[in-house]
């Protein structure tokens, strides 16, 4: 359906911007040999970082299940409502686990 197609393309655009920022942040953070505690000290209370990764998680939670649905439809005989429900659950799982991690890094 067009809604899924549009959602996947829109989130792909978000991820195309967010993934390089995410990778660059990782490289920058570990460059000087920071410990986990030192990194968490910097992320604590950083609302910009929390919003960025919150958006990242939402985009992933939308993008990945739609792509996985396409893969499953092409490579298996699984179709119909059970597939859609299973991937909606997968999407929710990504969303909850991802936002929980963002909150943990923000609030610790």
């Amino acid at each position: 359906m067009p809604a899924l197609f549009l959602a996947q393309r829109a989130t792909a655009f978000v991820l195309a911007c967010a993934v390089p920022v995410h990778l660059a942040t990782i490289l920058y953070a570990v460059r000087g040999g920071l410990t986990a505690a030192e990194i968490l000290a910097r992320t604590h209370g950083n609302i910009g970082l929390a919003l960025f990764y919150g958006l990242f998680v939402i985009a992933v939670a939308i993008h990945a299940p739609i792509g996985l649905r396409n893969v499953l439809r092409e490579w298996t005989a699984w179709r119909g409502r059970s597939l859609d429900v299973a991937l909606a659950v997968f999407s929710l799982l990504l969303l909850v686990l991802g936002l929980r991690a963002v909150f943990a890094v923000y609030s610790t």
Binding site: M1, P2, A3, L4, F5, L6, R9, N70, R73, E74, W75
Partner: protein
């Protein structure tokens, strides 16, 4: 040109085996000439399909040495090196009727599913429509209008191989020519028909259809056009 050409031809339906033949090589011999000679001189039970022999009807397509081709316009010299053999199979992604003849009902049914037919509307125009040849819509329609329905693109398409419900490049190409037909009044239902999970959005842009189309049509770009039209319609709100 002289010598002998070794030919391996699929015999059977989904189950079967290759049968070997040897026929004389001839100058300018086409692959269809080879099949016809075998059927007439060696084995009258060989089944295949052809009609016009000049690249117009689209009925003689087969898989030739691993690639889908129109056999009436494919010379043996194009596909067989010196000393090489010719290997002929029925088109892929179609049910096999017998030997080299395939069942094309599903293929053409999908043209109907994609609304690949002109819809004049409830009250057709009284006068002739003027469609300038230089207009964008006319040029986009012209780019895909010469499809002969041979099934080569459908045979080459990976997405059809994965998802038998996928409408396929030919049906979507036909829909795109009609999306660009300014006289047509059936665009909303057509765009709905090609926008499902088995429609244009399922295309992976592998471009096999465009690579193998014997008429040099580019269904990949037609499908991309349908995706754009679908997105525009969605953003404006389906009416």
């Amino acid at each position: 040109m002289s010598g002998v050409l070794g030919v391996d031809i699929w015999r059977g339906t989904e189950q079967g085996a290759f049968q070997a033949f040897a026929i004389p090589r001839r100058t300018h011999q086409t692959v269809l000439d080879v099949v016809t000679e075998i059927q007439r001189e060696h084995d009258a039970t060989l089944s295949y399909r052809f009609a016009c022999r000049v690249g117009m009807c689209g009925s003689c397509a087969m898989v030739v040495n691993g690639r889908p081709r129109w056999t009436c316009r494919t010379r043996v010299t194009e596909v067989v090196e010196d000393g090489g053999r010719l290997r002929l199979e029925p088109l892929r992604n179609f049910a096999v009727v017998k030997d080299l003849a395939v069942e094309m009902t599903q293929f053409f049914d999908k043209w109907k599913e994609a609304h690949g037919y002109f819809e004049p509307g409830a009250a057709p125009e009284r006068d002739f429509a003027v469609v300038p040849p230089e207009s964008t819509e006319r040029q986009l329609a012209d780019a895909g209008i010469e499809c002969i329905g041979c099934g080569v693109c459908y045979s080459a398409c990976d997405v059809v191989a994965w998802d038998e419900d996928y409408l396929g490049p030919a049906a979507l190409n036909r829909a795109w020519t009609l999306v660009n037909d300014v006289r047509d009044r059936g665009q909303p239902t057509r765009l709905d028909a090609v926008s499902g999970s088995d429609g244009c959005q399922a295309c992976h842009t592998h471009m096999s259809c465009t690579t193998f189309c014997p008429k040099a049509i580019a269904p990949t770009y037609a499908i991309a056009g349908l995706k754009r039209a679908m997105v525009k319609r969605s953003l404006r709100g389906a009416r």
